[in-house]
Structure formats: structure tokens, C-alpha cells
């Protein structure tokens, strides 16, 4: 089970260069989505002329479902310079994988709460770390796509682009590097040193 909380509004707003296409996922709202705060924030962005469209739906982690909806809203997505996703980390990564040449950003941090585990039968995983890194890594989670969960870049263990731990797995940071180059955001690799805060990870979503 999980809870999503809005990231700092100013930080998120600063990611938008022109307009953002917004996606809200209410699939797990029974668990905890900051619906009212998100709506208020989106109204503010709209009044600043920073929104090309808003899509609100259930379970954006279902790739077929979200792919269909994205294709129906193609014009609004093309008009935007980025896509801002209000969901857990799995939802953001699903959208990011479908819009490879688009900057896809997370507007929320995802926290774990004890109890039943959500069902996400997908290739994407969210560690529910409470400090979503997807905005620094081109929408590819460094905690789950890298065997060591490194948050400051590639280790020296990749061979032919494969992970030293599992040769069937592509190096996560190789993917991140490629994706950032594709969306013109290699600058984020020069972000300040990242240090995990494990205090966020363990049942900290009170």
C-alpha cells in the first residue's frame, strides 16, 4: 500500500518551461492521493497559462489503457514541453516509457504504508522511497533499475551496457544517460550530491 504526497510546488513548477500536460492517477485513491491539494496546484498552474491539458484516470500503470488515452490527447501533449504526472512512481515510469522523447516529471513522492501490497504486474517498480528521484533521472527509477540503487550515477560495473549483477539486465544508468540525452536534460547529471534519507522509507507516511 502506498501514499503519495505532493512535492514542493515551486520546485515542480520550475520544471515547466512552457506548458505542461498533466496526468492525474486516481487508481489508488483509496490508499491516499492528495486530490484536493493537487487540484488546487493545477488550478494555479492553469491560471498562469502553464497547462495544455489535464487527463484524470484510473490505474495509469496499465500500459494499454494509458497508451490509448495518451494517443487521444496527442495534440495537447505535443503542445506541452513536459508531462507532469501526479501518481506513484510506477505510474510516472509507465508514462515516461510511452513518451520517450518527452520530458516526464513526477509531481509526487511515494511513501510505503504497512499492510497489503498494491498490484502492479509490470516491469516497472517503485521502491516507495518517499523522495522520488525520477525528475533527476529521466523518468527511470535509479533505485529499482540499478542493482545497487545508486543515485549519483553509473558504477564501473557495466559490461557491454549490461549490469555486473545480472547480465540479462541493462545498466540502469546507461538507460538514464541515454534518456536524458534524448530529452536534452543532461544538465541534471550535474545536480548536487544526492544522499538517501532512509527515514522517509520505513513507514514514514504519517
Amino acid at each position: 500500500m502506498l501514499v503519495t504526497k505532493l512535492k514542493d510546488k515551486d520546485t515542480v513548477a520550475s520544471l515547466i518551461c512552457g506548458k505542461a500536460f498533466i496526468i492525474n492517477c486516481h487508481g489508488c485513491k483509496e490508499v491516499g492521493f492528495p486530490e484536493r491539494d493537487a487540484a488546487e496546484f493545477q488550478r494555479e498552474l492553469e491560471s498562469d497559462g502553464k497547462v495544455s491539458g489535464i487527463l484524470t484516470m484510473d490505474y495509469i500503470c496499465n500500459p494499454e489503457n494509458i497508451a490509448l488515452n495518451l494517443s487521444l490527447r496527442k495534440d495537447e501533449i505535443d503542445e506541452a514541453d513536459c508531462v507532469l504526472v501526479f501518481s506513484c512512481g510506477v505510474g510516472v515510469q509507465t508514462v515516461s516509457s510511452l513518451l520517450e522523447d518527452k520530458r516526464v516529471y513526477a509531481a509526487c513522492d511515494t511513501y510505503a504504508v504497512p499492510g497489503g501490497q498494491g498490484v502492479t504486474p509490470l516491469e516497472f517498480d517503485c521502491r516507495q522511497c518517499g523522495e522520488c528521484y525520477l525528475n533527476l533521472t529521466g523518468g527511470i527509477c535509479p533505485l529499482t533499475a540499478c542493482s545497487k540503487g545508486l543515485v549519483n550515477g553509473q558504477c564501473g560495473g557495466a559490461k557491454d551496457g549490461r549490469c555486473e549483477v545480472d547480465p540479462d539486465m541493462e545498466c540502469g544508468w546507461e538507460r538514464i544517460q541515454r534518456r536524458l540525452a534524448m530529452v536534452g536534460r543532461l544538465d541534471v547529471l550535474r545536480s548536487p550530491v544526492q544522499i538517501r534519507n532512509y527515514d522517509n522509507e520505513v513507514n514514514a507516511a504519517e
Binding site: S147, K148, Q154, G156, E164, Q177, L189
Partner: protein, 292 residues
């Protein structure tokens, strides 16, 4: 002695490395190091290299220091969380060990304790940052240290022949931003590849020591080329080792190859780091052949 002082004097800095034993009897290794590695700038001590459990890097650094050598404390993030890393750094300062090489470390799955918990609380970049914080007199929790803060020469590694060279350069830059003052590289067998890497890395203006492994025989280099990340051995080197089995057996061909790699890379870097992998006795000969 801080190894960075040597770089600032413009020296071509030579280091080698030794791996601590799986046990605590170090007399033989220490006397070997004294005999063959006393004339070089410093000696790295590996930290559970390849995720194989051994005597601690810090412990062996202390033994080398007591024997009059200048150790470089290799510190990986695989086995310790941030608190343990910080307290080992303070212990290094206590022992007068003032060179530290910050690494992420191989994954536990690759070694002899595959069921161990891989820690990676920090990584090479955040570890470098941590060393800088200690030097400012505070720990990562923001608490003040008692007394004069420690001072270290802070090193890091980079893999110049990696097939992910863009990602390696990005990480190198990040390490420098976090405080890295010198680099040692993964082993180079193809000077041309190293030279083209240095063309891109020289913009950072941080000293780089080319990494050299003495090729012992064909089987060893083939294995490394196929299995070790960042190591590419050109066919010409393999052929050379094949050509003269008798010489190769005595290690002469390997020594010649290592010396040649150093000679060819020397104009493009600030030092050499020799990974002798048990052939420490051959280091003086390699250096002589390389003209150092």
C-alpha cells in the same frame, strides 16, 4: 604523506596496490611490499576486493604505515553504512593515514558471500562528499567533530575503456564536484582508447593515473577481456602473449607489455597505478623498462 602533494609538484606519480590476505598473518606481504614498493609514492590497499572477504583495508594500511610505506586507504560503500564509513575515516586519521580512495564497490553477489546484504547506503560520490564534510569538522548528520578535523588526499576511480564512456565521464565530473582530487583508472591495455578518453577528461584538470595490470598469460587476459567490466584487451596483446610461451611463463612478455603501455600513456596523464595481482616483485623492473 598526501599523494596530492606529489601531483602538485608535477611529478609523474607511481602507485601500486596490494590485497590483504584472508587471514591476519601479514608479515610476508609487508616485507614483500617493503622490498619492492618502498620507492614508489604510495600503495593502495584494497577493500574486500571483488566482494571477497579479507583482512580489512584499514588494518592492513596500518601495518604498511608502521613498516614505513605510504598507504592509500581504499574504501567501498558495499559493506558499511554512512556511520561506519565515517568512523573508519576517523580511525584512518588517527593512524596518520591521509590518502583515501573512494569507491562504490562490487556487488556482494559477485563474491564469496553472495547472501550478504549489499549496503550501498552511500556511493562513491556521496562518500567523497562525506570526506569533505569531515574535513570541515562535521559529520553527515551535521554534528560537530571534537578537535582538529582530519585532512585527506581524496581519490576516485574511472573506467576509461568502458563501453559507457559518456556515463563514465558524467560520473567523473560528479566525483570532482563532490571533492575528488585525483583519479586512478581501471586497467588499460589499449593506449589509444585511453588517449582518446584523456582528450575528453583533460578539461577537468584533475590528475589521472593510468591503471596497468601486468598480463600474466593468455588465459588471464582473455578472461578479463570477456568478463571484467571496463577491460578491453586488443588481439595484438593476446597474440603477443601467445607468441612466446617460454618468455610468458617467466613473466617477461607481460612485464614488457606493461612497460610499453606506461610509456605510451605517460604523455597524456599524471601518473601510473600498477595492479600487480601478486607480481609485486616485478614492479621495479616494469618501471625501469618504462623509463621511470
Amino acid at each position: 604523506m598526501k599523494i596530492t602533494d606529489r601531483f602538485s609538484k608535477g611529478e609523474f606519480v607511481v602507485t601500486a596496490e596490494v590485497g590483504p590476505p584472508k587471514g591476519f598473518h601479514v608479515d610476508e606481504l609487508v616485507s614483500e611490499a617493503k622490498e619492492y614498493l618502498s620507492d614508489i609514492a604510495a600503495v593502495n590497499v584494497t577493500d574486500n576486493q571483488s566482494s571477497v572477504m579479507r583482512l580489512s583495508s584499514l588494518g592492513f594500511c596500518k601495518a604498511l604505515k608502521d613498516a614505513g610505506l605510504n598507504p592509500i586507504f581504499q574504501l567501498t560503500c558495499r559493506d558499511r553504512n554512512r556511520m561506519a564509513l565515517e568512523s573508519d575515516l576517523l580511525a584512518a586519521a588517527l593512524f596518520g593515514i591521509d590518502n583515501v580512495l573512494c569507491l562504490t564497490g562490487d556487488h556482494t553477489k559477485l563474491g564469496d558471500h553472495p547472501g550478504a546484504k549489499p549496503v550501498f547506503d552511500l556511493d562513491s560520490v556521496s562518500l567523497l562528499h562525506t570526506v569533505c564534510e569531515l574535513e570541515k569538522g562535521r559529520d553527515l548528520g551535521g554534528n560537530e567533530l571534537v578537535g582538529e578535523p582530519p585532512v585527506f588526499a581524496k581519490g576516485a576511480v574511472v573506467s576509461p575503456c568502458s563501453d559507457s564512456v559518456d556515463a563514465q565521464l558524467a560520473k567523473m565530473e560528479r566525483k570532482i564536484m563532490a571533492g575528488a582530487e585525483f583519479f586512478q583508472t581501471q586497467a588499460v591495455f589499449d593506449p589509444e582508447r585511453f588517449i582518446s578518453f584523456m582528450e575528453r577528461a583533460k578539461q577537468f584538470n584533475v590528475p589521472v593515473q593510468v591503471g596497468v595490470i601486468i598480463p600474466k598469460n593468455v588465459g588471464m587476459v582473455r578472461y578479463m577481456s570477456q568478463n571484467v567490466a571496463g577491460i578491453v584487451v586488443p588481439d595484438s596483446v593476446i597474440d603477443e602473449l601467445k607468441a612466446d610461451k617460454e618468455k610468458t611463463k617467466a613473466g617477461i612478455t607481460g612485464v614488457e607489455i606493461a612497460a610499453r603501455i606506461i610509456r605510451e600513456c605517460r604523455p597524456y596523464c599524471q601518473g601510473v597505478h600498477i595492479m600487480a595481482l601478486g607480481w609485486e616483485a616485478k614492479v621495479p623492473e616494469i618501471l625501469k623498462l618504462a623509463g621511470i
